[in-house]
C-alpha cells in the first residue's frame, strides 16, 4: 500500500505501508501511518515552566513520538543564543523607541523557537523566515545590523540570501514557504540532501500559499520542515478565529505528512523535536510540520496596541512560562550552566546589543541611483532615462544651494 489518495478507504486499520521513503522511516517506529502522521495527544514538553525535567514516562509521548534529550553542550550553546536573542529583541525595541528604526516585530517570548529554528539545520540547509524571525536569522550567523536593514528603512533586504542560505524576510504571509519548497525541489533533483526549514505564524496558516506549499512538498516528497510558531494571535485576531482544526499540527495529516506540536517555550523539547524532524527529512521521509505553542509577549509591532484585544492576566500567565528563566533554572540545576558561563554569555549578548546600537546609530547615506540599479540585471532604456532625470534634478538642487 502506498500513501496516496488513490486507494479506497480500508475496512480495517491500514497495514504498514509497503514502499516509499515515508514507509521506511515508519518502520523505525512500528506504528500505523495515521499514528505516525497525527501529532501526539499532548504537546511535547521536556522541561516544565519551573525548569524541571519532565520524567521520561510523563513527557506525554506515545510510540513514535519519543524524543531523546539533546546533549549538554548543545543545550549550553542554545542557551547562549537564547540570551542573545532576548537581548536583541529588547535592544531593537529600544532602538525603535529612539527613532533609530521604523518598526520592529519583536519575537520577545518566542526566542526558544527562534534559536531552535536556527540551530536545528546544517550549514548547507536553507531557512525561509518571516518578518518576525530576525533573531533566528542572526542566530544562523547573519550580521545583526544587516538583518535590521529592512526595519531601519534603507533597503528592503539587508543581507545576501546566498551567504548563509537564508531567504529574504518575507512579509506577504506564507509566500516564502513555496520558495522553500522550490529550493528543496531543485536540490532534490540534483541529488543534494538539503533540508529546508520554512517558517510562518499561526494566523498565516489560513493563507492559500500555506496549503499549496504543504501539498507541493508532500506530493514531491521534499525535505521541508514547516515550522509554525503559534503565538496565539495574528495581530489582533486569536487563533480560534483562524481555524477550527483540533490543532495546527493536525493540518499536516491531510497532506500526507506528519505533524507534531511542541511546547514552544521549552528550548529542550524544541531542539529534540526539530532535530528529529530534520534528521528524518534528510533521510528521505518527506516533509513534516512542527507547531510550537508560544506567546507573543509584546504587541504585534511597536505600532500596535495589544491592550485592545487581550487581557493583562493572559500575558502574566505566559510570563510565568518564559523560555529563558525555564532554561536557566534547568541548566543551572543540572550543573551545566555555571556562573562563569552566565557572565560570559551576558557579555556576548551585550556585545551584540552594542553592535546593534552602533550600527543603527550611524546615519546611513542612501544612494538615490540604487532605485534604478537593481530592478533588472541591467537597466532598461526607460529606467536609464528616469535615472538621468533624477540625477539632473539632484544636480540642480545642489547647484541652487
Amino acid at each position: 500500500m502506498t500513501i496516496s489518495a488513490n486507494h479506497e478507504a480500508p475496512d480495517e486499520a491500514p497495514a504498514m505501508p509497503g514502499d516509499g521513503a515515508l514507509a521506511e522511516s515508519l518502520l523505525k517506529f512500528g506504528i500505523s501511518v495515521e499514528d505516525y502522521m497525527l501529532p501526539a495527544r499532548h504537546q511535547i514538553q521536556m522541561v516544565t515552566p519551573d525548569g524541571v525535567l519532565v520524567p521520561l514516562g510523563e513527557q506525554g509521548t506515545q510510540p513514535g513520538h519519543e524524543y531523546p534529550l539533546p546533549d549538554d553542550s548543545e543545550l549550553l550553546a542554545a542557551y547562549e543564543q537564547l540570551v542573545i536573542g532576548r537581548r536583541v529583541n529588547d535592544q531593537n525595541s529600544a532602538l525603535v523607541r529612539q527613532g533609530r528604526m521604523a518598526v520592529y516585530p519583536s519575537s520577545h517570548g518566542q526566542e526558544a523557537c527562534q534559536v531552535a529554528a536556527a540551530l536545528c539545520i546544517a550549514d548547507g540547509d536553507w531557512m525561509f523566515p518571516t518578518y518576525r524571525d530576525s533573531v533566528a536569522i542572526m542566530a544562523r550567523g547573519i550580521d545583526p545590523v544587516q538583518v535590521m536593514t529592512l526595519f531601519r528603512g534603507d533597503w528592503h533586504g539587508g543581507y545576501n540570501p546566498h551567504e548563509r542560505n537564508v531567504g529574504i524576510q518575507s512579509t506577504p504571509l506564507t509566500t516564502q514557504l513555496l520558495h522553500g519548497v522550490g529550493v528543496a525541489h531543485a536540490a532534490k533533483l540534483r541529488g543534494e540532501k538539503t533540508v529546508v526549514l520554512a517558517m510562518c505564524g499561526d494566523g498565516a496558516t489560513s493563507e492559500g500559499d500555506f496549503h499549496e506549499a504543504l501539498n507541493f512538498a508532500a506530493v514531491f516528497k521534499l525535505p521541508v520542515i514547516f515550522f509554525v510558531q503559534n503565538n496565539k494571535y495574528a495581530i489582533s485576531v486569536p487563533l480560534a478565529q483562524q481555524s477550527a482544526a483540533p490543532s495546527l499540527a493536525h493540518k499536516a495529516v491531510g497532506y500526507g505528512m506528519p505533524g507534531e506540536r511542541v511546547d514552544g517555550n521549552d528550548l529542550v523539547a524544541l531542539l529534540a523535536v526539530l532535530g528529529r524532524a530534520v534528521k528524518l527529512a534528510r533521510e528521505g521521509s518527506g516533509p513534516l510540520l512542527v507547531e510550537a505553542h508560544t506567546y507573543r509577549m509584546q504587541a504585534h509591532t511597536n505600532a500596535d496596541d495589544a491592550t485592545r484585544y487581550r487581557e493583562d492576566s493572559e500575558v502574566a500567565e505566559w510570563q510565568a512560562k518564559d523560555p529563558l528563566t525555564r532554561m536557566k533554572t534547568y541548566l543551572t540545576g543540572k550543573g551545566v550552566l555555571s556562573s562563569e558561563d552566565e557572565t560570559r554569555i551576558a557579555g556576548r549578548a551585550e556585545a551584540v546589543a552594542a553592535q546593534l546600537r552602533q550600527g543603527l546609530g550611524e546615519d546611513v547615506t542612501v544612494d538615490p541611483q540604487d532605485l534604478f540599479r537593481h530592478v533588472f540585471s541591467s537597466p532598461t532604456p526607460q529606467l536609464e532615462k528616469q535615472s538621468a532625470m533624477l540625477a539632473d534634478e539632484l544636480a540642480r538642487e545642489e547647484a541652487a544651494q
Binding site: 513555496l178 520558495h179 540599479r373 537593481h374 540585471s377 526607460q382
Partner: protein, 370 residues
C-alpha cells in the same frame, strides 16, 4: 521520479541518454525553410533550451504526459524524463512560488499557466516576489524564470479563457513582458526569455498557435548561438513588420496579423501603412516605434485588451511625448471595449478588426496633409 538530475559536468546515464535522444532528434530535423506552426516553434525552443542546459526545467498543469492543453510541451517528458518536465498539483501560486525557489537554487524554470485568467491565483507571487526579488536583494538573488501564458482571445473560448492580461504584468516593475506574433519570434523570443537572468512573462497569442510560416530552424539556432557567443540579441527590440510611409500601425501579439491585414487592405486603396511589431512590451523599444512615427506623422495603436489604462494607452502617451512635433493628427487607439471579455458569439464585435483599424486610419486628419 526515480533518478536525480546531475550537473552538466557529471551527467549520469539516464539523463544523458535522454539528452542524446533529444539531440539526435534535433539533428535529424529537416534543413532549410519549413512550414512550422507557432506552437511547434515554441515547443522546439523548449526542446533546444532543455537540451543545452540541464537547469532548464518545465512544469505546470497537464504539461507532462499530455504535453499541455495546447500541446506546447509535447514530447518533453518523453525526451527529457519526468524530472525535467512534470505535472504539478493544481495550484498556480504553488507553481510560480516553487519556480521562485528553484530559480534561487540554480534552476531555470519555465512554467506554464494553463490559460491567461488562471494565472491570477499566482498574482501575489508574481508581483510581490518574482518582480521584486532581484531589487530587494540588490541583485544577489537572480530569478531566471519564464512564466508562459497562452493569452488573449479570438478562439471562441468561454469565460476566463481569453483575457488579455498584459497590462497587469507590464505595470509591475521588475518583470519583462514578451508577446511574440510570428512563428520565428516564438522560437527566438522564448530562447531569449529562457536565457534572461530576469524573470519574463511570455505571452503566447493562443489564436496564433496554429498559424504557419516558413522558417529555417537551423538558421534560427545558429542566430541564437551567435548571439549567445557575442552577448548580443534582439532582446527588447521592436520590428518593422511591414514598411510604409503614410501612417504607422503599432501592434503586438495577436493584433499584429490584424494590423498587417489592415495595411494590405489600405495598400489597395493607395495608402501605405507601416506596421510595427512591438514584440517586447517590457523593455519597450521607443526608438524603433518613434522613428517610424516621426517618419509617417500618424499612428494607430492596436491591441485586444481593454483600452482604459492599457499598454496601448502607454504607447500613445510615449509616442505623443516623443513625437509631438512630427504628428499630423492625434494618435488613435483601436482596442477592445472596456467590458469583460465577451462570450464566443459576441467576441467579433469586441476584437479590433481590419475595418475598425481602417476607420481609425481614415480619421487621422488626412485633409491636413501638406
Amino acid at each position: 521520479m526515480s533518478q536525480t538530475l546531475t550537473t552538466p559536468s557529471a551527467a549520469n546515464g539516464n539523463v544523458s541518454a535522454a539528452t542524446a535522444k533529444a539531440a539526435a532528434k534535433v539533428a535529424s530535423s529537416e534543413e532549410g525553410p519549413q512550414s512550422l506552426t507557432l506552437a511547434k516553434a515554441i515547443n522546439t525552443a523548449l526542446v533546444d533550451a532543455m537540451h543545452e542546459d540541464e537547469a532548464v526545467i518545465v512544469f505546470g498543469e497537464d504539461v507532462g504526459t499530455l504535453g499541455g492543453v495546447f500541446r506546447i510541451t509535447d514530447g518533453l517528458t518523453k525526451s527529457f524524463g519526468d524530472q525535467r518536465c512534470f505535472d504539478t498539483p493544481l495550484a498556480e501560486s504553488g507553481i510560480v512560488g516553487m519556480a521562485v525557489g528553484m530559480a534561487m537554487n540554480g534552476m531555470r524554470p519555465v512554467v506554464e499557466m494553463q490559460f491567461d485568467a488562471f494565472a491570477y491565483p499566482a498574482f501575489e507571487q508574481i508581483v510581490s516576489h518574482v518582480a521584486k526579488m532581484h531589487n530587494r536583494t540588490k541583485g544577489a538573488v537572480k530569478l531566471p524564470m519564464v512564466i508562459r501564458i497562452p493569452y488573449a482571445g479570438g478562439i471562441g473560448g468561454v469565460e476566463h479563457h481569453c483575457d488579455s492580461s498584459e497590462a497587469y504584468y507590464a505595470h509591475t516593475a521588475g518583470l519583462k513582458v514578451y508577446a511574440p506574433a510570428t512563428v520565428a519570434d516564438g522560437y527566438r523570443m522564448l530562447r531569449e526569455a529562457i536565457d534572461s537572468d530576469d524573470p519574463v512573462i511570455f505571452l503566447e497569442p493562443k489564436k496564433l498557435y496554429w498559424s504557419k510560416d516558413l522558417v529555417d530552424l537551423q538558421e534560427l539556432r545558429e542566430q541564437h548561438a551567435d548571439n549567445t557567443r557575442a552577448g548580443t540579441s534582439g532582446e527588447g527590440r521592436a520590428a518593422v513588420a511591414r514598411a510604409g510611409t503614410d501612417a504607422t500601425l503599432i501592434a503586438y501579439g495577436p493584433s499584429v496579423p490584424t494590423a498587417l491585414a489592415a495595411a494590405a487592405a489600405a495598400a489597395e486603396e493607395g495608402r501605405s501603412l507601416e506596421v510595427i511589431d512591438v514584440r517586447s512590451i517590457v523593455p519597450f523599444d521607443d526608438e524603433t516605434v518613434q522613428a517610424s512615427v516621426r517618419k509617417t506623422g500618424r499612428a494607430v495603436v492596436i491591441a485586444e485588451a481593454h483600452g482604459f489604462a492599457s499598454v496601448a494607452s502607454e504607447i500613445v502617451a510615449r509616442v505623443q511625448e516623443g513625437c509631438f512635433h512630427h504628428l499630423a493628427a492625434p494618435i488613435r487607439r483601436v482596442t477592445g471595449f472596456d467590458v469583460p471579455y465577451p462570450a464566443p458569439k459576441l467576441e467579433h464585435y469586441y476584437l479590433p478588426g481590419v475595418d475598425r483599424i481602417l476607420d481609425a486610419v481614415d480619421d487621422l486628419q488626412w485633409e491636413d496633409q501638406p
